[in-house]
Amino acid sequence: MNKTVNQKAWFFVIPVFVLVAFNAIIPLMTVVNYAFQETFGNNVFMWEGTRWFKQIMLSERFHASLGRQFLFTFIILFIQIPLGIAIALTMPKEGIGVPVCLVLMSMPLLIPWNVVGAMWNIFALPDIGFLGHSLNALGFDYNFTQQIGDAWFTTILMDVWHWTSLVVLLSYAGLRSIQPAYYQAAEIDGASRWAIFTKIELPKMKKVLTIAILLRFMDSFMIYTEPFVLTGGGPGNATAFLSIDLVKMALGQFDLGPAAAMSLIYFFIVLLVCWVFYTLMMRNEEKS
């Protein structure tokens, strides 16, 4: 066989390459540039090596916001995944209820993030907000702008409201793809509802659940807009998650070097956790 050699095909890759360069590689390289140098403006740079990285890794402030970030992500995954599966299991399987439920479920996903933050801010205000006022009227001492526990409670509630639908929709799609014959076979065996859930539904949903957990991990780990609008990171630094802290450092204090180092570390943590999680979940799948 004579293969025709034609390198002109590479020209077709150029538009994509240019696009990716402008929206990913160049900004990333700028960050990398800042992470290893000190700048005083006027395009004057001084080489600092790994100094900023060491500083961030040893900084208590970074440890605190990283800890808050992991705690927040863990809590919302712990609530949203089981809740999403539970809601998906109770959704109707046929009839007019299906589109109604699907549309209702997608509503929160369609609202812009800053609007969600603003909505919940007003909703939760202790004096005039419906949620805040009601809680206080019921005798709870609730004030999310001043009390740490209340701030966390409100932020988590907001995230659950905003994002559980995503898990519901993915789980629902996973459940609908299970052939009816599986349920019949289980019925013939006399399997209990719980056995059907653990032995058929969960294993069959494994792949979509892996995707759901990954998406929710990444989104919640990088959360910025909603808590920024709701609490602004407060009270104090109580809800200053990684990205809020990062923006404070970069734009508030103009510490560009440490902020750049921090964003790279941040990026690698997300990458690492996703990779480890995905590899573990798919380990048994690849054997076949």
């Binding site: 052939q179 014959a181 599986y182 019949q184 076979a185 019925e187 013939i188 065996d189 006399g190 399997a191 032995k199 058929i200 294993p203 069959k204 048994n284 799948e285 054997k287 076949s288």
Partner: protein, 354 residues
């Protein structure tokens, strides 16, 4: 032991899925439900199993009315077209699952699973998970699960349809052996006439929610009660031609080919059904009636040759043993055995065969 459907009917909304059906299946028999997709085979099986309730009518098992009884209380097992196994159980646990739920001791479970696994050639892979097996092995596991629990009724819904040709042939030959010496009623749904012939037993031909004919498989094949039944039980489809009989002389309406018959039927017009394998490309034994045709399509499948040809306004299909290469448009002669013709009256009821 017997399973009896009495005036069973199934409607969903305004659609009738099963028209009033009466059927009695005896113990130690294989009963084949033969019909095309949407003929109602699966619905009928689900009603037999108790997975679905009939709209009206009754199901009797061993002289007991079991209509509406839950499937768990019925001691049935079912194998599906899709390979249905518990995805994260090993093959052993999959086969043992029906026994575990009924509380069989672990020693007995081990022994029974071992026996069934050997029968189905799964002994070497008891520790594997279903997704590590080939399609054929997955379906063997599903079959083993159905066989392990000594059901009164085993339902198989096109179990070979999703397997590739080689595996299908292999498993098809083993199936009759699997059901030997079992104190149960086997119901087997298929779209393929050859599968029905291979399994033997009894066959019910189905079309559009109606049982057209039920009887011993060979009788149903050889003496179709109607044109519909004959067509369901013929693959490739039966050739149908209109004929005229006058005295001993018969001839096709579409051309002047004629033959003599000793049939004792009234003179007049009839329809004859001719199975494709009764039209051959060579003169052979009783295949003496010659028909000239022009080749439309010629296909070779395995060691058989399938030739679609046209004669006048009529299209015919012939299936002969051996490999014959024909070109589209070739003129050729084909031969039929008039003794194999099946005669139907104008209402498409059987008049006589041969």
């Amino acid at each position: 032991m017997s399973l009896e459907l009495k005036n069973v009917e199934k409607k969903i909304g305004l659609d009738t899925h099963i028209y009033s059906t009466n059927l009695k299946l005896e113990k130690n028999t294989i009963n084949i439900l033969l019909g095309s997709t949407l003929a109602g085979k699966t619905t009928l099986m689900q009603i037999m199993a108790g997975l679905d309730k009939p709209t009206s009518g009754e199901i009797w098992f061993n002289n007991e009315n079991v209509t509406g009884m839950k499937v768990q209380k019925r001691n049935v097992s079912m194998v599906y077209q899709q390979f249905i196994n518990y995805p994260n159980f090993t093959v052993y646990d999959n086969i043992a699952s029906p026994l575990k739920i009924t509380g069989v001791s672990s020693d007995e479970t081990k022994q029974r699973v071992g026996k069934v696994a050997e029968l189905l050639k799964l002994s070497g892979m008891l520790n594997k998970k279903p997704n590590e097996l080939s399609g054929g092995q997955q379906q063997r596991t599903a079959l083993a699960r159905a066989l392990v629990k000594d059901s009164d009724l085993i339902l198989l819904d096109e179990p070979l349809a999703n397997l590739d040709f080689k595996l299908r042939e292999e498993l098809r030959e083993e199936l009759p052996k699997l059901f030997e010496n079992r104190d149960c009623i086997v119901v087997y749904a298929t779209t393929e006439p050859s599968e029905a012939l291979l399994l033997g037993g009894n066959t019910a031909t189905l079309q559009e929610g109606k049982i057209i004919q039920y009887g011993k498989t060979l009788d149903t094949y050889n003496k179709p009660n109607s044109l519909v039944s004959a067509q369901v039980f013929s693959d490739p489809p039966m050739n149908i031609a209109k004929i005229k009989k006058s005295g001993e002389q018969c001839s096709f309406l579409q051309n002047d080919i004629h033959w003599k018959t000793k049939l004792n039927i009234k003179d007049g017009e009839y329809k004859v059904g001719i199975r494709p394998h009764n039209i051959t490309t060579y003169k052979d034994g009783n295949n003496t009636l010659e028909i000239k045709g022009k080749v439309l399509i010629s296909e070779i499948s395995g060691s058989e040759s399938l030739i679609h040809f046209t004669n006048g306004n009529l299209n015919w299909v012939s299936l002969s043993n051996g490999v014959f290469q024909k070109n589209v448009g070739d003129e050729m002669s084909l031969y039929m055995n008039t003794d194999e013709f099946v005669y139907f009256d104008q209402n498409e009821r059987l008049v006589s065969n041969g």
